[in-house]
Amino acid sequence: MEILWKVENLKKEYEIKGEFKSVKISALKNINLEIYKGEVLGLAGESGSGKTTFGKVLIKLIEPDKGKIIYKNIDITEMPEKILRNYRKNFQIIFQDPYKSLNPRISCGFTIMEGIKGNKKERFEKSIELLNLVGIKKERFYDYPHQFSGGERQRIAIARALSTEPEFIVCDEPTSNLDVSIQGQILNLFIDLKEKFNLTYLFITHNLKILKFISDRIAIMYKGEIVETGKTEEIFRNPKHPYTEKLINSEI
């Protein structure tokens, strides 16, 4: 299988500045991971273990302190932003809270149009096509985010992510703020899109049932480290790290 992402010895520290002293917290300690093309890699771990930080560092929304990020055999760690821009359209992110991730002052259609290249007519047509793809009627093109429900907003966020025709999407707990019935719809959409566009996902979630449902492989994070990776079934059947075991045993 083709390796899409390769991460070597990735480190990231945050400094929390206090009045008298500042404390350093390592969000990522020495991460090594490979993501293959066309797979869904589930990333699980407790809150504060660095899952989201990893997702953001991977697509260089945050600069890492040390280590290498290799995308399709190209080292993008030190790449200047000007050159990196050419690659940026290939990877996208969908955030947890659709109430915060959409600009409240831009109508949903224009939010999607922003990422598309071409003349105005092409962009308009493409964005309607994308809205249609995620299941939102084209009459709602000019509606603003507050006019949509949580599930619909997440659909718009997905359409926006797709607007640059990416091949890799970081899904940062995209369903944890949604109701069960809406969660099902969004999961369906993710799976349809994956098949249609041959996408690769890094699916961050702490919901074990979703993890089992959607991912081919799982990586477990604990206190800034990836403690275990493996095939989904393998990890659920035979967890090796004590934290993984604890996590899997807490499934209800």
Binding site: E46, S47, S149, G151, D179, V180, S181, I182, Q183, G184, Q185, L187, N188, I191, H206, N207, L208, K209, I210, K212, F213, I214, T232, K246, L247, N249, S250, E251, I252
Partner: protein, 323 residues
């Protein structure tokens, strides 16, 4: 144990009868009927905005200012708590409550010990109070140091445990839990759930547990109530509701769970959306999304029908109409 003597019989502890809540424009709850017995865990399940938290708030009369109890009565043991000011004698003493986000209900300026002490309602000496708190902290699985810590020094799970300690300090008969584990991690949440289950026998407690996760409800509770748009669509024992749901909504809700499917199989979801309270359909509120919809469903609200071992509101099972 500092428990007072309580009878172990399966007696009714709370009876909710024909409760309507709302104001002139909207009705948030319509004809809510249920009861809970001693040492029983009852779960209220539903999607957001179905009125499950409002049901809890109605019981302890913590409704928002613009909402009122329009009709119906609630009895706690024999006391009619819908009557004026009766709840003041019970709230916090006989009925405890815990909330979704513990950090927003704890005062950041006071130690946990201080805050729990404040909740003690009967007049005892300060040293006795401390003893009592230490004992409860231990039972809840917190170290005695927590007595002297401030909320920000504790993790989410520990904060939730502190909230539980606060709710249980007066030895209540009933604990209302409003999604106590949603904001927590999977492993911590599991700890809290196990704790709540144990507390039932230690404290002779009944729990009303509000959640949107029906599989969690099945795990923790004896009985489940499924709510949709302010009415109870189905109630019965947890096992049979989860394994053999009767109401179309419950059936579809359970069918939405990813654990019911193989890997990446198409999930059968519920078409449409939860109606808003401002424009509810005139008949059964689920009728626009229901595949078994009949003519009568659009016109009248179904009444409670006893099928097998539970109560369902659906015209599929009989023609009782809500009066």
């Amino acid at each position: 144990m500092f428990l007072t003597q309580k009878t172990g019989k399966m007696e009714k502890i709370l009876t909710v009868r024909n409760i309507f809540v709302g104001n002139k424009e909207v009705k948030i709850l319509r004809n809510i009927n249920f009861e809970i017995k001693k040492r029983e865990i009852l779960s209220i399940v539903g999607e957001s905005g179905c009125g499950k938290s409002m049901t809890l708030r109605t019981i302890i009369k913590l409704l928002p200012k613009n909402l009122k109890i329009l009709k119906g009565e609630i009895y706690f043991e024999d006391i009619k708590i819908t009557e004026y000011n009766e709840i003041g004698k019970i709230r916090g003493k006989k009925i405890g409550m815990i909330f979704q986000e513990p950090s927003s209900y704890l005062n950041p300026l006071f130690t946990i010990g201080n805050q729990i002490e404040e909740a003690i309602k009967n007049n005892i000496k300060k040293i006795e109070k401390k003893e009592k708190i230490m004992k409860i902290l231990q039972e809840i699985g917190l170290s005695p140091d927590v007595y002297y810590s401030y909320p920000h020094q504790l993790s989410g799970g520990m904060q939730q445990r502190a909230m539980i300690a606060m709710a249980l300090i007066n030895n209540p008969d009933l604990l209302l839990a409003d999604e106590p584990t949603t904001a927590l991690d999977v492993t911590t949440a599991f700890g809290i759930i196990k704790l709540l289950k144990n507390l039932v026998s230690i404290y002779n407690l009944s729990i009303i547990f509000v959640t949107h996760d029906i599989s969690l409800a099945k795990y923790i509770s004896d009985k489940i109530i499924v709510m949709y748009a302010g009415i109870i669509v189905e109630k019965g024992d947890a096992y049979s509701i989860y394994n053999n749901p009767l109401h179309p909504y419950t059936q579809k809700l359970i069918n939405c769970l990813p654990e019911k499917y193989n890997k990446r199989e198409k999930i059968k979801t519920i078409e449409g959306e939860v109606p808003s309270f401002k424009n509810l359909p005139s008949g059964c509120p689920f009728s626009p999304r229901c595949e078994y919809k009949m003519k009568i469903c659009e016109e009248k609200i179904p009444g409670e029908i006893n099928v097998e071992n539970r109560t369902v509101r659906c015209f599929k099972y009989g023609n009782t109409v809500e009066s």
